[in-house]
Each structure stands twice: as C-alpha cells, then as structure tokens.
Amino acid sequence: MITTSTTLGESSESVSDRSVIFADNYLNKLSGEKIEHECRRRIETGCRELELNFANTEIVNSIGISILLGVIDTASNKGARVVFSEVNDETVELFEMLGLTNHVVIE
C-alpha cells in the first residue's frame, strides 16, 4: 500500500509542489513498481520535487535499487529534484556504495 501526500507551497506560485511518497517495509519488485508508477505519475503531472520517505523501510533489494535509479533518471530528464528522507543507516550505506547519493539529497 502506497501512502502519498502532497505538501503545497503556501505563499506563491513560484514555490514548487513537493510530493511525498512512502515506501513499504521491503522495497522489492512488487512494491518498487508501485512506487515507480506513482513517481512517474507525479512527475508527469508537473511535480518538481519528489520526496521518497523510507521511514517504514528496512530492506531495499537489487530490484528496488534499479527501480530507484529509474525514478532518479526520469526525474532528472524532467528537471525534477528527488529527495530521500528518513532512510536508515544501512540503506544509506547501500545508496552511497552504489552511487544513488550522487543524484539525490538525503534528508
């Protein structure tokens, strides 16, 4: 189940939308594809800042990594920014090792 929420800029049009998407406990093919679909949909509808929240995520497998790379690539092609938030230490290490942190901001 993907829980999504959108935080809208309060003051003016120049403040871009930020969409928050929460990842599941285990980021694998099944849950990863749901996230990918949702991210693409948000980017296509004009979202320029995408936050992937990993607060509930314990494990990310290789397919999950590949899907996240796809999301990063899509966002980059559309000029959108990707933020990973509330990532546990082990997953941060994995993201660093594989170079994902070169393309996203970890909050």
Binding site: S66, L98, G99
Partner: protein, 429 residues
C-alpha cells in the same frame, strides 16, 4: 576493503536472485525485465538493455530496455563480421571504446553515445550468439572494475541460458505445430482414402449404394452413444466404412443378383470378411481394430455367424458394433429381393435378436440414441439424415422405442417391480 566486501555481498545476492528468477517458470519477457533490474541494481547501473539475437533476421531485438529513451533503436542489424567477432570474443564484456571496431557499432554509434553506453556484452551460449547486453554508466560515475565485469559476465551467462532455453522451447513448439499440421493432413488423407474405398465398395452393388458410408455413420452413432472418446468414435466410423472391403474381390453378378443366391454363390460371398481382413491387415491403421471389424462383422453372439462361428466374448467389440450397424442398414434399405422394413418391425427385430445376434447393450445404446433424437433431447439429426424424415417420424415410433427400451433395460427397481408384478410373480404391498 569493507566497502568492497559489501559490494560483493550485494552483487552475490542479486546473482542468487537472478538464478532463482531464471529457473522459475515465469513469463519469459518478465524474466528478462527482472534480469535487467537485477544487473542494474547489483552494480548501480543507470540504464541498459537486454537483446535477443535472431539468427534468421541477423538482428539484435530488444527484450527489455531501461532508461535509454524512446528514440533508442529496438532492433539492430548485424553483419557476418559482427557475428564472427561476437563468437571470437565469447561471453566477455567489451568497453564501448573498443566495441566501436564492430561494424554494427559504427551504424548505431550516435544512439549509443547519446545514451552514454559504457559496456557491451555479447551473450554467447554453447558457441552460439543468443543475445547481448548494453549497459550504461554507473550511478557512481566511476569506470567498471574488473570484478564488476566478472559479475556482469556471470549474470550475462544466466540471461544467455534463459534466452537459449526460450529459443529451444520456441523451436520445439514450432516443430510440434508442424507435426500437428502434418498429422492433420495425414488424417484427412486417410479419411478421404477410406471414404473413396467405401464408395468403390458400394459401386459394385447398385442396390446397396451408400451402404458402407451408412454403416460407418451408424457405427459412429453407436460408439458415441456408448460414450466413447473422439478418436474411438472415429475408429468405429472407419471400421464401418471399410467393413465390406472384401466384396471388391467378389464377382459383381453375385453381389447384384436380383434373386436369393445359391449355396455356391453364397460360399463365395461369405469369403468377403476374411478377404477384407487380408486386405486391411497390412495397412497401419490409426485405429487397430479396423481389420478385425471387417473379419468378424458377420459373427453372431449365439455362434451361428461366419466365418469362424465365434461366440459372444470371442467376438471383438468393434465387430459387434459394425454387425449391428450393418444389419440395421440392411433392414432399413430396399434390397433386390426385399423391401425396406417399417421402423417398428426393425425395432422388434433388434429386440428379438438382442443376445442372439446382437450385443444387448449395443441395441439399447443405439435405440436410445434414436429416441433422444425423436424426443428432441439430441438436436443432431443423425438418424433423420440417414433414414429420411418420413421414415423416422412415422406414427408411434417414439412410443415403441420407449416401450422397447423399458423392456430391455429393467435397471431401476421401479421398472423391475412393475415388470415382475405384471406377470404375477409377487405382490406389491
């Protein structure tokens, strides 16, 4: 050092998952898509594709593509020099800078460069090109290390085997389809030949024109009423079509005699079952009982038939079917010395001779089939087509059939008690 170990552990995890994915009986396209995910995720590769090689079209056709954009070519033509170099190189990754020496790279160089492809891996399995991997830059921006190339080779080998297996399966399916078509053609030729034979047999006898075809159809009806499967029903029909093939050797004047033939002529005519067997025996029939049906279709359950005077269980079942179909047709068609008999008489005859000439269960199945058609339970007009509507719809036939079947098959307690009570054997309280 620790990072190196972590990378290895992560990559081996992906390799294990890939092995599992390949051995699962998943959808092939999905397996390849997952394989590409696993390679990308194992080493943090931003983009790439997996292609299958078509040896007929000499093309690499993309099976899975990630991050290469809509304008990336989905089919790449190869020349014989490319193929030769792939085979020489074997399953080893080629840096894009070196791959540029390949003729096909020169054609598609702009597309590869635009998507920042870094590595190319021909998938060669058992000295055969089965596909290729195209891999883009790593998310770290670093060059591929030698251990990463080895992991890519190992994963590529798995994917190559999956493609090779799929190709083999496709080839087997193609051969199976060809065999099926060939079998259908042969079957159709066999049936046409059988029908031609039946027509040739019937041509000898102007009074029984169409007899063999009708016996074939009646045998088919009996078999289907017995609940036989499609092939067995077909076999029964063929046995019926060919039951009189031995008559081809009997003189036409005996067959066409407009009088009751004498003993000598009768002896000559009675050879036709054995002659038919001799004719049919050397032929490899898809239905093994066909020659036996020809040989024994004049045998009777009471042992008074010919050629061997066999009793009940000695007679092959198929011959019993053809015997009933043959006799029924003889009774329901005009002969030179006898007019066609009314349906009610024929039903009486079948009942009277059940257990003597005919197998009772065949008589009940056959008459049951007739009743189903008359009562509308079976909408197929099999009997009407063979016997004519007027004949079949004569007054009282359905009633007669019901009565006869009830008498012949006192299988339910009610029927049995009613039948017994009517002859006063015991009283019902």
């Amino acid at each position: 050092m620790a990072e190196h170990s972590n990378k290895l552990i992560h990559a081996f995890g992906a390799l294990a998952e890939l092995g599992q994915e390949i051995t699962n009986k998943n959808n092939f396209q999905e397996t390849i898509r997952t394989s590409l995910h696993l390679i990308s995720g194992a080493l943090g590769i931003m983009r790439g594709s997996v292609a299958r090689y078509s040896r007929f079209g000499h093309e690499l056709n993309m099976l899975a593509v990630r991050g290469l954009g809509d304008d990336f070519p989905l089919s790449l033509s190869l020349c014989s020099e490319d193929e030769r170099q792939f085979l020489t190189n074997g399953l080893n990754p080629i840096e894009i800078a070196h791959a540029k020496a390949l003729p096909f790279f020169q054609v598609y160089d702009a597309s590869f460069e635009r998507r920042n492809l870094q590595l190319f891996l021909p998938l060669v399995v058992r000295d055969e090109i089965v596909g290729a991997l195209f891999l883009g830059e790593k998310a770290t921006g670093e060059a591929y290390t030698s251990y990463e190339k080895e992991i890519i080779c190992a994963m590529g080998q798995h994917i190559g085997v999956a493609i090779s297996q799929r190709n083999l399966m496709a080839e087997i399916e193609r051969h199976a389809e060809q065999n099926r078509k060939m079998f259908d053609d042969m079957r159709s030729t066999y049936h046409d030949t059988v029908k031609a034979f039946a027509a040739a047999i019937d041509c000898k006898d102007k009074y029984t024109e169409g007899h063999s075809v009708r016996v074939g159809r009646f045998s088919e009806i009996i078999a289907s009423e017995l609940g036989w499967g499609g092939d067995e029903v077909e076999g029964a029909a063929v046995a019926g079509y060919l039951h009189d093939v031995g008559k081809l050797t009997v003189e036409r004047k005996i067959i066409n005699a407009p009088y009751r033939i004498n003993a000598k002529e009768s002896a000559e005519l009675n050879k036709h079952p054995s002659v038919g067997f001799e004719i049919l025996q050397p032929i490899h029939h898809p239905f093994t009982d066909v020659p036996l049906a020809a040989k024994y279709h004049h045998e009777r359950l009471d042992g008074r038939g010919y050629p061997d005077g066999l009793f009940d269980r000695e007679i092959p079942f198929i011959a019993k079917i053809v015997n009933l179909a043959d006799s029924f047709d003889a009774m329901t068609t005009d002969r030179p010395y006898k007019a066609r008999r009314p349906a009610k008489d024929v039903i009486d005859d079948l009942q009277r001779n059940a257990g003597k000439q005919f197998a009772p269960e065949l008589v009940t199945s056959f008459l049951g089939g007739m009743l189903k058609e008359l009562s509308g339970e079976n909408r197929d007009k099999r009997f009407r087509r063979l016997l004519g509507r007027e004949y079949m719809e004569a007054e009282g036939i359905a009633e007669k059939l019901r009565y006869t079947l009830n008498e012949m098959a006192p299988t339910t307690p009610m029927t049995y008690v009613a039948a017994a009570a009517s002859v006063g054997e015991f009283q019902i309280h």
